[in-house]
Symmetry: C2
């Protein structure tokens, strides 16, 4: 059988990882794929030395050349970014019937629907295992392995940077800014960290998973996004004492009325739960399906080698002739998200208040909770320092988020409350 | 597109689960599969009432009719057993170019190579996601999701009955016989439990996983099998105190010389490890690949609904036109296992001795360990009861299994040693 001829566009960590993998595992790959996988052409912004001899590959001066190149069977897009040149490359390749493999979650979160439509129209595969959770084959699990199920809940730890920061905060008791600065030095966080720590990257990935799990159109306007900047060392310590850990989760829950709660937020998860035990830069996804029950998968969610593993898994699928719709069902079957108002979500909550240590302050807070129909599960005041700010941690019984927000707003208006109260969902599973 | 016409052979728990699933999730299944999935014919040993109206399906008096039935696109074999009628049904169907989906690990462990050869010769899919770990899509993960990797280690908790028994023994401190009897009453263990508790079922499943992971021929003669009958409550308690849990693991480790350590045995795993936290009837698989790193997946490993989820996932794959070799690579590429002598395995060990509480016994044991070059990590004598049997628990530093067996044989010959010493590997990961 003829080799599968590949163009590799983008020669950063992941791109070089793909080249290394294709060389190192060459024998087993051609046996599994049923044919040779041969990189024919490469392209990148610069021709800087990458520590590998690239002279055997045709150098394309512009990425777009790959989209119409007659000697290529597939384009691997590893440039990243939700605009050009990635967008035009992927679009043009698909329009020309050239299969595309990409790790670009931002591109797919913004333009996935349009690109999938083009892919289907031209009967051309568009594969993106590497776009979510690195080496964990979660796209394939949702698209194929668990495809017999209606999925009911999906929680993911999808951003290694955030999970690393939260893990180190827990291990060391240090604050967010301090740990972020260290993570940046170690290369675990970007110099401009907002896409990670403010939840945007998790949102991109969650949208793709939710689309596969629930048959909804990926829509960045249909989810709420919160990050981890406002998590303090004392929150992590309080969670620990309550038997929980704080994790930044992408969360997609199908409601009984068919609406979808979809969002990104730090949550308290029980220490005994599988998600709580995912530490450092690992990623993990927990799902519940109506036949399979709960399923949990964890592994390395980023980095050159795990991401290359996912890219090459897609290459093997292509070489074997697999052809599945990008989002599992035809684009015409994907429905707009029927969005659940997050204010209607009912569950237990964690509430952190910073109050001035004055007589009557707890009575005021308790009265507000009572007026908002919120029942207290536990209340801990930390420290004792007259007229100085002290922290009060409250956990609640089940209540609507709306009531929590109302209570929070009333508390924030109290003169004795020194900072915006923090509300975190407390998940049980 | 035409419906995919299915024969369902075997109407036990799993078969009925498949029928229920196909009805309950009908809409989403046809959207994902790209066509209707239609059960046309069924067959089972008896026509007893199964609480569902089966009159819409053609009843086949013998399973073998399905293999050549002109109105069928696929045969689902759910009868079980490594011989006929399952064997002839699967073989004949494949010979006639009729795709087969089966949950039958015993059949595949015994005849997988022959059946895969027939499937390839007739270019006919043979799919068996349901044969290993129920609802966990581990076959697909190894065959596709992690296919870019050379796998280095694979550990699986693959038998829910054993894991349930070990979990209850740990929770309650009760003995094996007692917990087994209860599990039988609750339906978690068979009346004839040997296939489960003696490790045979785990061995069947491990062989299939090892074949996919390492490209070796499944060969029941190429692995050692040990079960959990000889695990005592005191072993579980001692493991607990040492920071470990005892799990029955299927284990396949590639050695540096290319040989494969392949076996089933109870092992001590660190409490913090992902496998240690898989409790009750759950299954899980831990793998390490040379690019992806570690990967862990857990879920429900048996039962009507999870197994049906796996069967129907294979149906969807078929309906979508997926065509992968049964064991990932062509049968001609599968190599015989280059078996590592288990005696050459080097690691830490747990050793349980029952000795008469007499002066000098520990000195004798310590001398034997010294003579076999075994270095003691810890030694605990439980209880104090002159001239009565007491338990001594020893953990070792790294040493070859051969040395442990030699020491064990020498100890067994001591008059003060009252029972055959128990040796369990102590795994670190």
């Amino acid at each position: 059988m003829k080799p599968l001829r590949v163009a590799l566009i983008g020669l950063g960590n992941v791109g070089m990882g793909v080249l290394n993998l294709l060389q190192e595992n060459k024998a087993v790959l051609s046996s599994r794929a049923g044919r040779e996988i041969e990189v024919v052409a490469v392209s990148a912004r610069s021709k800087r030395d990458r520590g590998m001899d690239l002279s055997a590959y045709q150098w394309l001066d512009t990425p777009l050349e790959a989209a119409t190149h007659p000697d290529l069977d597939v384009v691997i897009e590893l440039m990243g970014g939700d605009g050009d040149p990635a967008y035009s490359l992927v679009k043009t390749a698909l329009q020309n019937g050239k299969p595309v493999i990409t790790a670009n979650k931002a591109l797919l979160a913004h333009h996935g629907l349009e690109l999938a439509r083009i892919a289907e129209a031209s009967k051309t595969p568009l594969l993106f295992e590497a776009a979510v959770a690195g080496g964990i084959p979660i796209i394939k699990m949702l698209r194929e392995g668990l495809a017999a199920n209606r999925i009911q809940r999906l929680y993911g730890i999808l951003n290694g940077t955030c999970n690393y920061i939260l893990s180190v905060m827990e291990e060391t008791g240090r604050g967010f800014d301090d740990v972020l600065a260290e993570a940046q030095k170690l290369g675990y966080a970007e110099a401009e960290p907002s896409l990670d720590v403010d939840g945007g990257d998790t949102a991109h990935k969650l949208l793709l998973l939710a689309s596969l799990a629930y048959g909804v159109q990926p829509d960045l306007n249909a989810l709420s996004v919160d990050g981890i900047r406002h998590i303090r060392a004392e929150d992590i310590q309080a969670a620990d004492e309550l038997g929980y850990r704080i994790k930044l989760l992408g969360q997609a829950e199908l409601q009984e009325d068919g609406s979808l709660l979809q969002g990104v937020a730090p949550c308290l998860v029980p220490k005994k739960s599988s998600l709580a035990n995912v530490s450092g830069v690992l990623n993990a996804v927990y799902t519940e399906g109506n036949y399979v029950g709960s399923n949990f998968v964890a592994g390395r969610g980023a980095g050159s080698q795990p991401t290359a593993s996912a890219v090459v898994a897609d290459l093997i699928d292509l070489a074997r002739g697999a052809a599945v719709n990008p989002f599992s069902v035809p684009v015409s079957d994907l429905v707009p998200v029927k969005r659940m108002d997050p204010q209607d979500w009912t569950g237990e909550f964690y509430l952190r208040l910073v109050v001035l240590d004055q007589p009557g302050v707890i009575a005021d807070i308790a009265a507000i909770l009572r007026d908002c129909s919120i029942s207290i599960e536990s209340l801990i005041q930390r420290g004792r320092d007259p007229d100085q700010p002290v922290t009060v941690i409250i956990t609640t019984h089940e209540i609507k988020r709306r009531n929590m927000e109302q209570a929070s707003a009333k508390m924030a208006a109290l003169k004795t409350v020194a900072a915006k109260p923090l509300i975190l969902p407390l998940l049980k599973f």
